[in-house]
């Protein structure tokens, strides 16, 4: 039998149909912060089931780390896209029409969107009190700062940074900003809920079946065993399908309708449900003149949006890995998850590492420049080695940073020339503490069934489980199956996140199979990784094993326009031992391509908190023709090495490697994505040409006069993203290259016309440049005065 993915036979949760099922549509707030004064449903036709705030008033609150979410907000809506009411009807169209007939009156309240501003005194409060969740996803010390928008403050203290900076011969400091991005899984969020008396069953593509069960049980005030979560394969997730998304509303509607209810989100609603944290990161690093790092200070603001989700966890990981894989005697980190009136931000491939790695690795190059050292040499001099202590106090084992970095630079020919080339090295934690359990059942026909809560989102987890089990059982892989997780059947597991499953479950599997060999029918295995950090000092064990990665990039830059191309990208990561090579390669390639999108053009754009590019036409994700001519990677293994998770490791090093490649030309970009406009501004800043736009306006008008949307000019695939008008054809055979300035023939009869057009164009360009400048000013993160030391 061929793979179900090529026959289209995979059934995702959006394909689930049940007898008597209704379809839901959600009514979302257009405003970012408001009191809901009135919801008038009198125009909704009879037969449609309407869920209003008053119908869920008796329910509890939920949230994986902070208990700040309600089935429907009772008091006020906190972001543009917050769900005000919901309708279930016989068809999705009827539900949508009914939602359109609901009239809502809002009283707008002051809102705050930017993380540093939101964390400052006097900012409008998104939540008046901050209560820590009892969900086991709140597994580390969470430190809400009551009376502020900071729902978690993580601190790391190692040595004395004041002393360290005094010892330093050279100190560099910079503040960085990274835009919000969206996961954009090809399959949207979809869930079907049904009740059988007091028992709730939800079929939903989720990475976190047991966390979902806990939150839904808490919401309805029922025992966890009364909630059953079934998780079919996901059409991509990347962190999006974690914790409760649409499931609470589906369950509330199903309870009211007394029928199964299905929720499938529209593409635009994906941006209103969960995104990646925009972040501001300030880094200060000090070194002796020989390059020895002596002090590192990092301050992170992770913009978690209107509901915390796992923002505290993201801020913690962004913080504890911020100093990077270096030996530094004096380290201080303050990392905050900050509420704002943006849509919630949560887990996203890389989990906070991308943001702080961008800031630190760019700063390392600034430092190298100031020390007049080779950036590679500076890093190698300070890299952690086996047996060294990290700034958390834990001892590092199985360390391969130097090998990874060397592999990265060799691929771009670093030793021949450093121009146009950049590099990055980083470490990323795996969730610690963590517990995994798995059962293996021997069937009568000689086959084996692996039962575990590890979910499949395309990463190949099921196949990895089957392959590892087959190897341990010495049977063909065809003899082993791994059904979809069902919380009624599988043993408890923390969740399928942080690239932990193959590593943790693989170890539990060994125990289970040893147990099976003893008793013959069913083997059970469990592993527990202890550890964790003190949230006020950051001391302890941050990660029971560290993901290690590096990258190098080579770019080609057109300094007239700011347009640049990544021509070479290479990322070596430590893999320990590879189970399924093609699947492991896919993880690396996928991470790098996602990292490329984040580096070059992915950016959620908002106006007064309202998402303005919530579609895949205005929000670009990388396509095949965006790939660098040379994209390669390495899975570094070690004889007797442990199985390592590798779902994310190759993503965070990509943007800094590209940023540093630009910096090899003195082009210093601090914000992601690295748009052509930002490059151009950095070129002007380097050349000391002062007022960038004044110079730009004297440039020929062939400079990309299109809109300032990040990276648009880098894409070679503009035409393929445009829907072909008329018949909806998707044929690329008639694609030209619209969107490019085409050479005009100097026909004499057209000269007059050209002159007129030219003057008009010049006026438009001048206007746009001026407008862009104003926009850019608005967008630049407002760092409070206190930070500008």
């Amino acid at each position: 039998m061929t793979d179900m993915r090529v026959t289209g036979a995979v059934r995702y949760s959006q394909d689930v149909e049940m007898k008597g099922m209704l379809y839901a549509h959600l009514l979302r707030s257009p405003v970012a912060h408001a009191r809901v004064l009135r919801v008038d449903v009198s125009a909704v036709p009879e037969g449609a089931v309407v869920l209003l705030p008053e119908n869920v008033r008796d329910l509890g609150r939920y949230g994986p780390q902070i208990k700040d979410q309600e089935a429907l907000p009772q008091e006020r809506v906190r972001y543009s896209g917050d769900v005000v009411a919901a309708v279930a009807a016989e068809t999705a169209e009827e539900a949508e029409e009914a939602v359109g007939l609901i009239d809502v009156e809002y009283e707008e309240l002051p809102a705050v969107f930017e993380e540093v501003e939101a964390a400052s005194e006097g900012a409008p409060l998104v939540h008046t009190t901050i209560n820590i969740s009892k969900n086991d996803a709140a597994y580390f010390g969470i430190r809400p700062q009551q009376g502020t928008n900071t729902c978690h403050l993580f601190r790391l203290r190692h040595g004395d940074v004041e002393v360290g900076f005094e010892e330093a011969d050279v100190v560099v400091e910079e503040t960085y900003h990274t835009a919000g991005a969206t996961h954009a899984p090809m399959e949207p969020h979809a869930a079907v809920a049904r009740w059988d008396g007091h028992q709730l069953e939800v079929t939903t593509g989720t990475q976190t079946p047991f966390n979902m069960r806990m939150d839904l049980a808490g919401l309805f005030g029922i025992e966890e065993e009364k909630v059953r979560i079934i998780s079919p394969p996901m059409g991509g997730s990347f962190g999006a399908k974690t914790f409760v998304r649409t499931e609470a509303i589906a369950a509330c509607l199903a309870r009211k309708a007394e029928r199964p209810v299905k929720v499938v989100l529209g593409r635009d609603e994906m941006w209103m449900t969960l995104n990646r944290h925009p972040a501001t990161v300030r880094v200060k690093v000090g070194a002796r003149s020989d390059g020895t790092l002596v002090a590192s200070e990092t301050e992170c603001w992770a913009n978690t949006g209107a509901y915390a989700d796992c923002g505290p966890g993201v801020a913690q990981k962004m913080g504890f890995a911020a100093p990077g894989p270096y030996r530094i005697a004096n380290v201080r980190v303050d990392s905050r998850a900050v509420y704002t009136n943006l849509p919630p931000n949560g887990a996203f491939r890389g989990y906070g590492q991308m943001q702080s790695t961008w800031a630190r690795e760019r700063t390392m190059d600034l430092l190298a420049d100031k020390l007049e050292m080779d950036p590679l040499e500076l890093r190698i001099k300070n890299l952690l080695k086996d047996g060294d202590n990290y700034c958390t106090g834990e001892t590092m084992h199985d360390v391969h940073f130097e090998r990874l970095l060397q592999g990265a630079v060799d691929a771009v020919g670093w030793s021949e020339s450093r121009k146009n080339k950049g590099l990055c090295v980083m470490l990323k934690g795996m969730q610690t503490p963590s517990r995994a359990a798995i059962a293996v059942e021997a069937e009568d026909d000689g086959t084996y069934t692996v039962r575990c809560a590890t979910t499949e989102m395309g990463q190949g987890a099921k196949m990895a489980m089957c392959m590892m089990a087959a190897e341990l059982l010495s049977v063909d892989v065809e003899k082993v199956s791994c059904p979809d997780p069902d919380t009624d059947v599988v043993p408890y597991d923390t969740r399928t996140t942080s690239s932990r499953s193959t590593h943790m479950m693989g170890r539990a599997l060994k125990v289970a199979i040893a147990d099976l060999e003893e008793n013959g029918e069913r083997g059970y295995g469990e592993v527990v990784d202890e550890g964790g950090l003190d949230p006020d000092t950051g001391q302890g064990v941050a990660s029971s094993h560290w993901h290690q990665g590096a990258a190098a990039a080579e770019v080609e830059v057109d300094e007239e326009t700011g347009r640049f191309r990544v021509v070479k990208l290479h990322a070596p990561i430590y893999a320990g031992r590879v189970i399924n090579r093609p699947a492991a390669e896919l993880q690396n390639e996928g991470s790098m391509i996602m990292g490329l999108g984040i580096a070059l053009f992915e950016s959620n754009e908002f106006a007064e908190g309202q998402i303005t590019n919530a579609n895949l036409s205005d929000y670009n994700v990388p396509a095949m023709d965006d790939m660098p001519a040379a994209l390669s990677h390495e899975l570094v293994e070690r004889e007797g090495g442990e199985v390592q998770g590798l779902g994310e490791t190759a993503l965070p090093p990509v943007p800094p490697a590209i940023g540093n490649a630009l910096y090899s030309r003195g082009i210093h970009v601090t914000e992601l994505p690295i748009s052509a406009e930002r490059v151009l501004d950095a070129v002007y800043a380097r050349d000391g040409s002062g007022d960038a736009w004044a110079k730009a306006s004297s440039e020929p008008i062939s400079a990309d006069g299109r809109n300032a949307h990040a990276g648009e000019s880098i894409l070679a695939s503009g035409p393929t993203r445009e829907p072909t008008p008329g018949n909806g054809t998707h044929s690329p055979s008639d694609q030209g290259l619209p969107g490019r300035v085409k050479p005009l023939l100097p026909s004499p009869s057209a000269l007059l016309l050209l002159g007129t057009l030219g003057a008009g164009l010049l006026a438009i360009v001048l206007y746009r440049l001026l407008y862009r400048r104003v926009e850019a000013k608005k967008k630049s993160p407002s760092v409070p005065q206190a930070l500008r030391r």
Binding site: T7, E589, D625, N727
Partner: protein
């Protein structure tokens, strides 16, 4: 209204609203769940089907326009079409959600150009998005399918 077309070699007559897209009708009336929605605006290629042999984004094609047309989805390729085999051999997928659209697009590409260059592949496939980022292996699959087709001409599916 009634719409009649041929899908994967079978003549069907389905009920559709005049403002409905072919994607929704194929899923609801013909139960072809390999045809999947992602962007809804014709830019991602996930819902690609072949209409009289040409790739179309069915999320922006009105269902009544399918009247009298010959429609092919991956269900109609039989499972061992050279392009499907090439995708399996190259492991050119992760979650599999975009795979049916990719396969149909590759089929169309190779019919148009049996030996596409790297540039041609990347440009032609540039309208089919894969968020898992399997592009390198999809490119491998195109090349594998191209060489397989040279040895044994495509069975052609529906």
């Amino acid at each position: 209204m009634k719409v009649r077309f041929n899908v994967n070699g079978e003549a069907v007559e389905v009920e559709a609203r005049t403002d409905e897209m072919l994607l929704d009708v194929l899923r609801r009336e013909v139960a072809l769940t390999s045809v999947r929605q992602t962007c809804g605006v014709g830019v991602c290629g996930t819902c690609t089907t072949l209409v009289d042999g040409e790739p179309f984004s069915t999320c922006i094609m009105l269902a009544p326009l399918a009247e009298g047309k010959k429609i092919t989805t991956v269900e109609g390729l039989g499972g061992n079409h050279p392009v499907q085999d090439a995708f399996v051999e190259a492991m050119a997928f992760q979650c599999g959600y975009c795979t049916p659209g990719m396969i149909l697009m590759v089929k169309s590409l190779l019919e148009e150009d049996p030996e596409p260059t790297e540039e041609k592949i990347r440009q032609y496939m540039g309208g089919n998005l894969c968020r898992c980022g399997c592009y390198a292996k999809i490119e491998d699959a195109v090349n594998l399918a191209a060489s397989a087709s040279k040895v044994a001409p495509s069975k052609g599916g529906a």
